[in-house]
Symmetry: C2
């Protein structure tokens, strides 16, 4: 397969009989050996993976034995991989993780925002409570790093900084699994103040082919990725929340498909049984485009091994073409995958 | 100037030293006689103008004399042109408009959503109140149509339907001002259940050159547009709300610039003194792209007639290149206009 340039059409948004908006982007499917199975557009220029790599950042928490020593349960491991909606169970599990490390909300360096799941924000307000860092969509990732630091006898203070010992350790895992150097040159700062390192979309997909299959990883690391996948598969609510794409897909496919969104239109997936990794970047940063495109890719490349029941097919069909309804519930259009696969 | 095809770069979003996302789109500046002064990309293919045309839909309310007979004040006229955040003053003025027509919230057919200005939503929740149609961002437009119907002795029930007498009257004004037929063929349904008719971006810009300058309109219609522009200029909070682009720009420039966003990345402007109309459509539907692009266009084409003080320059500079900060307040990048003007 020859390298492609530019971008391709990922998704269309219709209103009535017309296409109202279009999303361009890049996408790639890679096997566990790193071979490109399919691609659309330039998949070599580095992109910031943002929250898509939270599960890779959680590997060391499990692989080091810290998770076991601290007694972290599967819901906590799922939350470490999450961009959650700040619903009550999310905040509660983040607090449990911090308590396991002998810390509390004061240790979180992610900053505060109100729950992104708006009913949860309004419920807090109705109870006359304020938002706190536990509601930050990244609180699980941060609590995971604090757990790792405390288990390793390292002061977690400043764990968000690139030079902090624990941050360096999890960054080394990211670099190894994606096969891409993580240096000052490709570093940006994420919404939660942790570094994010730009990597080629192809390398990101390869990382998730490895994460899903264990191919090319040490036995200990492969066991850690399997445990994280199972933790998310059994707690799909923890990784996102009510009405969210990641939760919907994994709630249905369990360990057969791992998907994760990231800010600015990035999306990854792994199909462990097929040994495939997927990565998508919507050029314009639109997550709605990455979601419908991912469902189209999963449907095509997952095939009958992924979709075994009518319900399996329905989940991907309904998420690859989503009906848009207005405030009166009237159908006004749709958002649909428009990839040429 | 020869017609262009395709799309051009409107805006870039950076993180660290890299461009993370890009927005393509189309844009056009038209004078009051309809001549294209400048354009980027295809400005002839029809686009849904969405909420950008609310001020055109409000013309008949003023021109017919209904607004005066019902005693509607300037804040009500501004709200009729608004996509507001559902803040308390917005909901209150919508209720006042309905009362002027002898109706109440039950007459609104826009549907209910919680205030888009999240602190307002949380304030409602904290007061243990529910959202109602008054909080719908389009409630002022709907209340305006109900006022017009009641003044004209027409039952407002079903005013959202294309065939309703009042809907037909305001649609006729839209068609006249934009010089574009409004028929079943170019109709879609908006988020608030009213029709939205796709028009060429060039025609939309021409409509706002007319709206701003009065050129090509009857004396009565030109007086109505002037009154609407002044109503918004003296009540910029009413047309959008706290922290919103339209409010920020018009709060500074008053009657020298009229701007209005619409869903799916549409933005219009009028510079009355220069007799120019502007229209932008971000291909991907991103309003953030349309906003920064509009500030760049206003800065260029407004020139010294628009920007008379350092503050004037600062408002456009700060909205054409917006600093992106994370939840800890750390600068992580920027969104900036990237048009080639």
């Amino acid at each position: 397969m020859t390298a492609q340039t530019g971008s391709g059409l990922l998704a269309e948004v219709t209103r009535g009989s017309q296409v109202e908006s279009r999303h361009l982007g890049r996408a790639v499917v890679v096997d566990a050996d790193g071979a490109v199975v399919w691609s659309c557009g330039d998949v070599e220029t580095p992109v910031f993976p943002r929250s898509t790599v939270k599960s890779l950042l959680a590997i060391e928490l499990v692989e080091s034995g810290a998770a076991d020593r601290l007694g972290l349960t599967a819901d906590a491991l799922a939350l470490a991989c999450a961009s959650h909606g700040g619903e009550e169970p999310h905040a509660k599990v983040a607090a449990v993780m911090l308590a396991a490390a002998g810390r509390d909300v004061g240790a979180l360096e992610c900053g505060t925002h109100w729950p992104t799941y708006e009913p949860a924000a309004r419920a807090l307000a109705a109870a006359h409570q304020a938002a706190c860092p536990l509601h930050n969509n990244c609180s699980g990732k941060h609590a995971g790093l604090i757990c790792l630091a405390c288990d390793q006898g390292v002061d977690p203070t400043g764990y968000i900084n690139p030079s902090h010992e624990i941050q360096r350790r999890v960054t080394d895992v990211l670099a190894a699994v994606t096969g891409t150097p993580h240096t000052d040159a490709n570093r940006g700062t994420d919404g939660c103040s942790m570094p994010t390192y730009a990597v080629p979309l192809r390398a990101l997909a390869h990382g998730f082919a490895r994460f899903g299959s264990g191919v090319g990883l040490s036995a200990g690391r492969a066991a850690a990725t399997k445990r994280l996948r199972e933790a998310v598969a059994t707690n799909p609510f923890m990784v996102a929340g009510t009405g969210r794409y990641d939760t919907t897909v994994m709630n249905n496919f369990e360990t057969r498909a791992f998907v994760k969104m990231g800010a600015e239109g990035v999306m990854i997936a792994a199909l462990p049984e097929q040994g495939l990794g997927f990565a998508i970047k919507a050029d314009d940063g639109a997550n709605r485009a990455a979601e419908v495109a991912m469902s189209a890719l999963l449907r095509h490349f997952g095939g009958e091994a992924l979709c075994r029941t009518p319900q399996d097919h329905a989940v991907l069909t309904d998420t690859a073409t989503q009906t848009l309804r207005n405030w009166q519930g009237v159908t006004v259009g749709e958002i649909r995958a428009a990839l040429t696969i």
